[in-house]
């Protein structure tokens, strides 16, 4: 056999700035809104091993039993190698959809299996919904703050993103109503309302039942779609379960996005979208164009995993772990954050949202925190308009209890330095220092994420 000569070079190098301009002339209009930023560069160092990162959104996959993983993969190799290595249907395998029905059933939903498409993670669901519904300039409404990973999707479809404030009962639906009127008056066309109603990312808040009913009713009246993104619903550590919007609406005006990422593994990239048939038809075509089908191999894995019948037990184990981590973080926040800070007390999910005095910019604070080897997500990432500058998202699921304690202690001490400095600069002594008020375990003093409003549904 003759030897193939090695290629002269990995790729042709881009030798000049003119080259770059040449490409730039070819870029689509939508790439203009795909921005890089100094903050993104900052995030490049959160990955170093010395850094305790409370910035991620990672579930803990370390407790998944390796023997069980090995047994399932072996079974797939022995019994279904040819199928598992082949393309599959665009909608996903029927067996995968059966697993999805079980997961949704656990939250009281019973969709028609034909309304379900298996996607490459829940993230692809957001993309496909936008692909199906959004023309450039169309309004997409979401919460303020919203899931930071949804913003680039909306932007890449050139949506005009409008955010509606959240408080501790989730999106202020009363404000949404006013906004819809206003948009109508301006003849701007909203296509859908994106919401993470349960254990919201990033705020950790859960929409109250009256607001859920109000939102579903509003969508119906305006013939607008609501996109309910519910990755965390089964990760509840306290309080009473809340019916998903999909259940309240019956699936007419609510598109539902689910995922196996937080209840099994994000690495398998398996999620799903449930939509009414006319919408689903377009979503399927969009999916076909995007990637033909979702990984068959990981669909087989999920099928085998569900066959074992222990998936709910695994979630219960996760819930135990995460509940303790949440409690540790809340306790550490009470101990180490300044009196002027507030934070949410989530009943589930992966995140706590903390808000500092408004003179602190958390993007700058991150630079200081990184010098202390700790990281978080600056609040600005969750807004499209530069707000959120004094808030931060803290993750408690992907780090050990000790790391949470130490991470919060470090963040607390960099904040304390900034507060002290600001007070020295202005002569203000806005809030008495925590040490001056010896109220041990003043549990709920700081647990007021957003101003309580008079709005219904409290």
């Amino acid at each position: 056999m003759s030897e193939v000569p090695p290629p002269p070079h990995r790729r042709r190098a881009h030798t000049s700035t003119r080259d770059l301009e040449r490409y730039a002339a070819l870029f689509a209009e939508r790439t203009r809104v795909m921005r890089s930023s100094a903050m993104r560069d900052l995030m490049a160092i959160t990955a170093s091993p010395e850094v305790i990162s409370l910035a991620g959104g990672l579930p803990d996959t370390s407790t998944f039993p390796p023997q069980s993983f090995a047994a399932q993969m072996t079974r797939i190799a022995q019994e279904s190698a040819a199928e598992a290595l082949q393309y599959g249907p665009t909608e996903g395998f029927e067996e995968t959809r059966d697993c999805i029905l079980q997961v949704m059933g656990a939250e009281g939903m019973l969709p028609d299996p034909h309304d379900i498409i298996v996607t490459t993670g829940g993230q692809q669901g957001i993309d496909l919904v936008c692909k199906t519904l959004v023309d450039p300039g169309d309004v997409v409404i979401c919460e303020a703050p919203t899931y930071p990973g949804a913003v680039p999707v909306f932007c890449s479809y050139q949506a005009d993103v409008v955010q509606v404030e959240c408080d501790e009962d989730g999106m202020r639906v009363g404000e949404l109503e006013g906004l819809l009127e206003q948009l109508r008056a301006e003849s701007r066309r909203p296509k859908f309302i994106y919401s993470v109603p349960t254990f919201q990312n990033p705020a950790g808040v859960t929409m109250s039942l009256p607001r859920r009913q109000q939102l579903v009713e509003l969508a119906r009246r305006h013939e607008l779609l609501v996109v309910e993104d519910n990755p965390y619903g089964l990760l509840r550590y306290g309080g009473e379960p809340m019916p998903p919007l999909y259940q309240l609406d019956g699936g007419d005006f609510v598109i539902y996005i689910g995922t196996f990422s937080k209840i099994l593994s994000p690495g398998i990239r398996l999620g799903w979208t449930v939509a009414p048939p006319p919408v689903m038809e377009k979503i399927v075509l969009g999916k076909q164009a995007a990637d033909l089908c979702t990984s068959t191999l990981t669909q087989y894995f999920v099928r085998e995993y569900f066959r074992e019948g222990r998936w709910q037990q695994y979630i219960e184990d996760l819930v135990e772990i995460y509940r303790r981590r949440r409690d540790v973080m809340l306790e550490a926040l009470g101990e180490h954050f300044p009196a002027a800070a507030t934070w949410t007390k989530p009943e589930g999910g992966l995140f706590i949202w903390a808000t500092l005095p408004d003179y602190i910019d958390t993007s700058d604070l991150l630079a200081k925190a990184l010098r202390a080897d700790v990281a978080f997500v600056p609040g600005q990432a969750a807004y499209v308009d530069g707000r959120g500058g004094s808030s931060m998202r803290l993750n408690f699921s992907g780090v050990s209890e000790d790391e949470i304690r130490e991470g919060i202690r470090r963040i607390g001490s960099v904040i304390a330095e900034q507060v002290e400095l600001y007070e020295a600069l202005t002569g203000e002594q806005s809030v008495p220092a925590r040490t001056a008020a010896p109220t041990p375990q003043s549990d709920d003093a700081n647990v007021l994420p957003f101003r309580k409003t008079a709005e219904g549904g409290g």
């Binding site: 070079h9 190098a13 881009h14 030798t15 000049s16 700035t17 003119r18 080259d19 770059l20 730039a24 203009r32 921005r35 890089s36 930023s37 100094a38 993104r40 560069d41 900052l42 490049a44 160092i45 170093s48 003179y359 602190i360 910019d361 700058d364 604070l365 630079a367 200081k368 990184l370 900034q418 002290e420 400095l421 600001y422 020295a424 600069l425 202005t426 002569g427």
Partner: protein
């Protein structure tokens, strides 16, 4: 030649440095050099001892790489390296030191006052803010003394915005400066060896004059190279830039950022290791001088090597 490309590290500009480094590696390989990339970390000295490079190409930006730290180690290990030496790096990285050196050399730089955190915490410097603001006028610019890109740089339009801007700047360094804002054209002069390359002008696309982030985003700032300057203006700008390069003790290469205002050019800062990414200003300037990126890299490498004795 065996070349170690130093990049990455723990600085806040790690991302940019990785891009600079990758591009330099490409160029070095095309030039036929044996190239090893080193993401600098706790094993730097051990790796350099093991690799025994004939020369180190320093593509690090920010604290830890551009401030003389890595250069000090390279000197100790007797490995020739690209760019300015230790002393120049120390001076360029610290804007306050750089401004003092320029003032002493009689070079124009905007008026400023510098403070450490200690001054505010322990010496009641806040009391003096009013006087200082009166002397510098508004808007004024607040900057961390050591830091790259636009990180932590803020405009304060009035006295109420000063404390917040100071808190932000102190996030990046324990020393900050408050600087008079000079209205004018933003210019960058890259110096290679002892020669000034064509001047680059950064032109904000629209209304982003007070937004430093804009300067680092494609599409929000337009770069003109060579900048349109009259002969007299050009001469003055280059003279001041070369003066700063020498006053700071730079060698190899560096980039001097200036403002061309009504009273002529004033130096804002010097970058000991300017970016080498495909959108960076030094490569643009080199290209305008007819120097491809490979030839630029080759030249930088030559300048790093000891002059052979006759």
């Amino acid at each position: 030649m065996r070349v170690a490309v130093l990049k990455g590290g723990r600085s806040l500009e790690r991302g940019v440095s990785l891009r600079s480094g990758a591009r330099v590696e490409d160029a070095l390989e095309r030039l036929g050099h044996e190239t090893v990339a080193v993401d600098t970390g706790p094993d730097l000295v051990a790796r350099l001892r093991e690799l025994r490079p004939e020369v180190a190409f320093v593509a690090l930006h920010g604290v830890g790489g551009e401030d003389g730290t890595a250069q000090e180690l390279l000197e100790l290990l007797d490995i020739p390296f690209t760019g300015p030496g230790v002393a120049a790096c120390v001076r360029c990285m610290d804007k306050v030191l750089a401004k003092h050196a320029m003032r002493e050399a009689g070079l124009p730089t905007p008026d400023w006052f510098a403070f450490s955190q200690t001054a505010f915490r322990e010496l009641g410097a806040a009391e003096a803010l009013g006087d200082l603001e009166q002397r510098l006028g508004f808007p004024l610019v607040v900057k961390p003394s050591r830091g790259g890109s636009s990180l932590g740089v803020k405009f304060a339009a009035d006295a109420r915005e000063v404390p917040g801007a100071l808190v932000a700047a102190f996030s990046y360094d324990d020393k900050v400066l408050l600087e008079r804002h000079v209205e004018g054209r933003e210019l960058a002069v890259s110096v290679l060896g002892d020669e000034a390359l064509p001047v680059v002008e950064a032109i904000p696309v629209q209304g982003d004059r007070y937004d430093f982030e804009a300067r680092y985003e494609i599409g929000r700032t337009r770069f003109a190279c060579p900048a349109e300057l009259g002969d007299e203006e050009h001469r003055a700008v280059v003279e001041v830039a070369l003066g700063a390069y020498r006053a700071l003790g730079c060698s190899g290469f560096a980039r001097i950022d200036l403002i061309l205002g009504a009273d002529g050019p004033q130096v804002l800062e010097a970058n000991a290791i300017p970016g080498l990414t495909d959108t960076s200003l030094l490569p643009q300037a080199a290209e305008a001088a007819g120097l491809s990126f490979e030839r630029l890299v080759e030249r930088i490498l030559e300048l790093a090597l000891p002059v052979p004795s006759p």
